[in-house]
């Protein structure tokens, strides 16, 4: 199974001299399971443009029916803004399935995604795309994609419902966890706070702990865990809790707890320069002590074979 990073930046594309080495495109990850010719993609940030350009040059793409399974973590702009520039959508031979979470049945994925392919945002309308595109509104659970590929979906902790994925095939497992921050008790536990409620404090504590335990089980045994590492722990503590992004230290702890063999950090802060990422990689990167995971700061173009 090959995993290729086409976009690793968080929040907004950041082209420029300072970000050229790690890359400025927002999230897009290609997963190519072994020996079946299938293409799974996680998220459609600006990095999906390069992936699309590459896909249509691959042998057999335009001759026969080519299939793409695109899994959206959520529909915040930085994770879907590359979709209109994904060239396979303009080929009639492409069959695409787009999966993603929705808040309510009244607001389907097709409506949310199709919204940016409308006159006021983009010159090409959704109905004008040549590819056959099917939308699947996801809730938590297993997704049937065929060819012995198992995909599981679970909710992460973000201001919008957001999915983490677990892709298994041929004994290899890759998991994704972006955008997310650790579940924690958001109910006050300070008895002097006027809004304090003992019952909420206790239940909030228990619910957060159990949600973290569920995630650990979901990631268990991963050969590769791709995780939101936007902040440092100090940055997270300085007023960024609740934004829905993790600190590098959170990601490392999650990988260690779940027994992941390799951790790839993504969703790099848009303000982070290549030099700063190099420095963070020097501090946190490499093999963790004992049987801990190898920690990688993902950069655009990186390909990992599991």
């Amino acid at each position: 199974m090959d995993v290729t990073f086409w976009g690793v930046r968080g929040s907004i594309p950041t082209p420029g001299y300072d970000t050229a080495r790690y890359g400025g495109n927002t999230l897009c990850i290609e997963i190519a399971p072994e020996g079946c010719g299938r293409t799974l993609v996680i998220d459609a940030g600006s990095g999906i443009r390069s992936l699309g350009n590459d896909l249509i040059t691959r042998s057999g793409w335009t001759e026969g029916a080519a299939r793409v399974d695109l899994f959206l973590s959520h529909t915040h702009l930085d994770h879907i803004l590359g979709l209109p520039f994904f060239r396979p959508f303009y080929h009639p031979s492409t069959r695409a399935v787009i999966y993603g979470p929705v808040i309510s049945a009244a607001d389907s994925l097709e409506q949310v995604i199709g919204g940016q392919l409308s006159y006021r945002y983009f010159p090409v309308r959704q109905v004008e795309l040549s590819a056959e595109i099917r939308y699947v509104d996801l809730t938590e659970g297993d997704i049937e994609v065929g060819d012995g590929i198992r995909v599981g979906a679970t909710y992460l902790n973000h201001p919008l419902l957001c999915m983490g994925y677990r892709v298994e095939q041929g004994g290899k497992i890759v998991c994704t966890a972006f955008d997310t921050e650790p579940f924690h008790n958001i109910f006050t536990s300070d008895p002097t706070d006027p809004g304090y409620d003992e019952q909420m404090a206790l239940e909030g504590e228990r619910a957060a702990r159990e949600a973290e335990e569920r995630l650990t089980r979901f990631f268990s045994g991963a050969d590769l865990l791709i995780y939101d590492g936007q902040f440092t722990a100090a940055e997270y503590r300085a007023g960024r809790a609740g934004w829905g992004h993790s600190a590098i230290e959170h990601a490392v702890a999650a990988a260690e707890k779940s027994g992941a063999r390799r951790l790839a950090l993504v969703h790099h802060d848009p303000m982070r320069s290549d030099e700063e990422l190099d420095e963070l990689a020097r501090i946190h990167g490499g093999f963790r002590p004992g049987d801990g995971p190898e920690v990688i700061f993902a950069r655009e173009g990186l390909r990992l074979t599991l």
Partner: protein
């Protein structure tokens, strides 16, 4: 002497099912809900508190968490847990979308009984159920389930009252004059009881078997000593107690005085403990009224 049964019209359940899909929050709490949910820095505690004053919005949030989270070992019946799992923003958006999904005036929405009266009774049963759960030794972290079940126990009355206002008023009048419980009057006049509707809502909103039982069987609970059914039993007791305290639904009929006394006896409650509970419930209702009142003044 009991009055003759009114003619039953056997109203269609399909209308009730359609109504459940577009059921909105109570007008009593709307102003406060909108204010809290539109504030950018709402705390989890305040959000929880304002939602937990409204049986419909509480149900809607639980519906979302239960329909989305398939891998949880059991259904979520606590708002606190739902807010942790879904996050403040998602919960605020869901609540806003249902707070004003349909705009009713208090008179329009609550034809045979008032929104304020329904709200006060629901909250009274919620508070009483939570206090009784504490008395029964239920751990603090699990008492919210009892509050939620109490809050939502009569939710089945909302569709009946809204869809069939004339029938409902007739049922209430008959219950009042004959002394029959309201659920019997509903059955007699409309052909559908609020427990049955509550069961449909619980199923439709995926609230889980315990809450479903509390919503559908609170007028015919299994024996208090029966294993594993404490939620419905406690809610039934809380309902009887609130009627004893005079916190029944205005104009909505009683729920059977004799049956109420039998329930109190079965639980072995003394007049002193009933009085203590009544005082505690009254304090909580007053606090909630002040909480809502503040929204109106700001």
């Amino acid at each position: 002497m009991a009055q003759a049964l009114p003619f039953s019209r056997h109203r269609p359940m399909s209308k009730v099912r359609a109504y459940i899909l577009r059921m909105a929050g109570l007008s009593t709490t709307t102003l406060k809900v909108l204010r809290v949910c539109n504030e950018p820095d709402t705390s989890a505690n305040t959000l929880n508190r304002v939602i937990s004053l409204d049986p419909v919005l509480t149900g809607r949030v639980l519906q979302l968490v239960n329909s989305a989270y398939y891998s949880l070992p059991s259904k979520v019946s606590s708002l606190t847990r739902a807010i942790i799992l879904l996050g403040i923003n998602t919960v605020k958006n869901v609540v806003l979308s249902f707070a004003l999904f349909e705009s009713f005036s208090k008179q329009d929405a609550f034809r045979a009984f008032s929104a304020d009266g329904f709200w006060a009774h629901s909250l009274s049963v919620a508070v009483a159920a939570k206090l009784l759960a504490a008395e029964q030794g239920v751990p603090a972290s699990e008492r919210e389930d009892y509050f939620v079940a109490g809050l939502m126990h009569d939710i089945g009355k909302i569709p009946l009252n809204h869809l069939f206002p004339d029938d409902y008023r007739q049922a209430a009048q008959w219950a009042h004059s004959s002394g029959a419980p309201m659920y019997e009057a509903e059955q007699a006049v409309i052909g559908i009881g609020h427990g049955e509707v509550g069961g449909v809502i619980a199923k439709r909103w995926e609230l889980g078997p315990m809450l479903a039982e509390a919503l559908s069987l609170h007028h015919e609970p299994p024996s208090p000593r029966h294993n594993g059914v404490r939620l419905v039993g406690v809610v039934a007791l809380a309902d009887v107690l609130t009627h004893t305290m005079g916190a029944g639904i205005p104009g909505g009929g009683g729920d059977g005085e004799a049956a109420g006394h039998r329930t109190l006896e079965a639980w072995g409650l003394s007049p002193e403990s009933v009085a203590a509970l009544a005082a505690a419930v009254a304090r909580e209702i007053e606090k909630a009224q002040v909480f809502l009142e503040i929204a109106g003044r700001e």
